[in-house]
Amino acid sequence: MQNISKWWKSGSPWIWLNAGAVAISMVTVIGLLTLILVRGLGHFWAADIIEVRYQDSNGAQTMIGELIRKEQVDLKNLGKEASERGNGERWLLKTGNRELSADFRWIEQANIVSVSTPKELVVLERKEWGDFYGYLISVSEKDTLVADGGEAWDEFTRRVERVEGLGKKTHQLERVEMGAINYQLEQLRLKRRKLELDGNDTPAALEKINVKVQKLGREFDSYMVDVRALNKEIERDSALFQIMDGQKVTISIAQVVEGLRPNSMSTVQKIGNYISTFVGFVSDNPREANTEGGVFPAIFGTVVMVLTMSIIVTPFGVIAAVYLREYASQGIVTKIVRIAVNNLAGVPSIVFGVFGLGFFVYFLGGSIDSLFYPEYAPAPYLGTSGMMWASLTLALLTLPVVIVSTEEGLTRIPRNLREGSLALGATKAETLWKVVLPMASPSIMTGLILAVARAAGEVAPLMLVGVVKLAPELPLDGNFPFLHIERKFMHLGFHIYDVGFQSPNVEAAQPLVYATAFLLVLIIVILNLAAILLRNNLREKYRGIAG
C-alpha cells in the first residue's frame, strides 16, 4: 500500500503517461506514413500477371489479371452455401479490358483450378479504358500484316516507341504552338472589343488587328495540317490481341501509352520501369477523369499557389505586426486587435472560402472587371475564382500566424540594440529597417513555415475560390505575362478528394489516392524544410547578438 503511494508521489505515473502519449503519437505518424507509402508506391511496380483457370457453377473459364489482394470472407454473407466449403479466401483480380467486361472481379480461391504466369502475357497502359491484358498475336501496318509469332513483340515495342515520338511532336504543336496562337488570338479579340467599347474603332486600327488575326489564322491552319498528317501517321499501326475468353481484339497502337510483359522482366528491368513510371506520374497530365496518368498540374498548382500566398502574406503580416508592436500605443484598442487576430486563426477554413468567394471573387473581382476589363464581358476575367483569389484567401487564413510570430520576434529584440541605433541619430523607421527587422527575420520565417504548412494542406476554401478538377492550362506558362493569376488551377489536396470519391472507378483510383497523398506530404515537407533551412541560416547569423 505504502509502496503504491510512494510510487504515485514519485511522479513516475506522469512520466509513464507522457511516454505513452509520445509513443502513441510516434506510432500514429509512422503508421500513417507507412500506409501511404506502401499503398501508394506499390502502384507503380509492374506486378506479375496471373492466368487463372477457374471452375464454378457457370462452368470453366480462364481469367487473366493482376492479383490486387486476398481476403478471408464468410461465404454465407455472399449468399453462398457455406456448408459446402465453409469460410474461404477470395481474391480480387484486376482483369482490365474495361470496354469489354468488368475490370475488377472477386474470385473464390476454392474454385481455382490452377494459376500460372505465362511469359508472353502483355499489359498495355492505354490512353482510354484503363489497362489491357492479353496475348499479342500480330502487328499490322494499315491493313497489311507486318509481324506475327515470335517477332511480333519486338515489332510492337518499336512501333509503340515510334508513336510515342510522334505523340510528343503533336503535343508540342497542339499545346505549345497552337496554344500560343490561340492565346494571341484571344488577346486580339479583347483588344478589338476594347477599341469598340472606347469608341476608338477606327478603320485603320481595326484593319491592323485584322491583318494580325489573318496572319495568326494562316499559321494556325498550317499547324493544323501538320497535326492532321501526324495524327494519320500515329493511327497507322494496330495490333491484334487474344484476351482471356479467347476473343480476338484489335488495338490501335495510337491508344497505347506503354506495353509491358512483366512476367518476363527481370528485377532490374522492373526497377527501371518503376522509376520511369513514377517519373511519369509526377510529370504527366492526368487522363480519364484523373484516374490515370500523372498529377503534374496538381503539383504545379499547389506549389505556385503556396508560393504566391507566401509572397502576399509575409509583407502584410510583418507590416501589421510592426504597427501593432512598434507604433500603435499599447492600450485597449491594440488588445482588441490582438484578440481579433488570434481568433481569426480559429475560424474554420471553409468560412474563409465563403468570404473569399463573396468578397474577393464576386465583389472585388467583379468590380475590377467592370471598371478595367469591360472587354471581357460577358465572360468574367478576375470576377471568377482563380489563382490570385485562392492565394489571397489563404493569405488571409494564414495571416494570424505570421502576425503573432513576428510580434514575438519583435519583442525579443534587446532594447539596448534599438537604443544604440537611435543614439546614433537613426529615426525609428531606420532603426526598424536596418536593425530590428533583420534580427526578427528568423521569427518571421517561423511564421511563414507555419503558414505554408497550413496553406498547402488546405482544401475546403480552395474548392470555392479557384481549384478545379481539371485545369486545361497551367497558371504559369510561356505566354506573356507568364503568371496568369486569373486562371483556375489544380491542387493535390483536391485531387485526392476528386480521385478518391468522385471517380467512376473506385478500385482503380485507390492506389492513386495514396500516391497523391504521399506526394502532397512530400511537397509540404520539402517546402517546410526549405523554409527551416533558411531560418536556421538567419538564426546562425544573428545568434551571438540576440543572446
Binding site: N416, E419, S421, L422, A423, L424, G425, A426, V435
Partner: protein, 160 residues
Amino acid sequence: MTTVQTPISVSIAPMDKDNLDIGKEVSTFETKNFNLFYGEKQALHGVNIKIPEHRVTAFIGPSGCGKSTLLRSFNRMNDLVDNVRIEGEILLGGKDIHHPKVDVSNLRRQVGMVFQRPNPFPKSIYENVGYGLRLQGVNQRSILDDKVEWALKGPPCGTR
C-alpha cells in the same frame, strides 16, 4: 512618503586649475529645474547644472542616483521609456531640446553617446562603424572606407 534627494555633484576636470571658474566658462548644456518622473517615481529632482564646453565633465554618485537618467536626458533617450514625464528644461547651446520643432534624430546626431555595455548591430564590423555615416546619407564607398579605417586604426582605438 518622503523622497530622498540625492545631490548630483558635478566635477570638472580643470585644464588650468588656478583659473577655474565655472561661471565664466561657455556652457554647452544647461538644465533649469529639471525634474524627471518614471510614472509616479521621481528620478531627478530639480537639477540645475551647466556643462562647460571643451571639457570632460564626469558625473559621480551612488548607483541609482540618476546619473544615467540625466545623461540620457541630454539626447532625449528617455523619450523611449514608457510613462516618462519631465518638467523644467534642458538647453543645448541656449536652445531648448524639448521644443516641438527640434528634430530628435538630429539632436542625437549632435549629442553622441557611448553606452555602458557595447551593443554591436547584426552587421559586419565595417557596417557597424559606418552605420552613423550611412544614416546621414553618406554612401560613397571611398569616403566610408577612409572614415572606417580611420576609426578602426586611429585615435579612438588607441595607437596608430
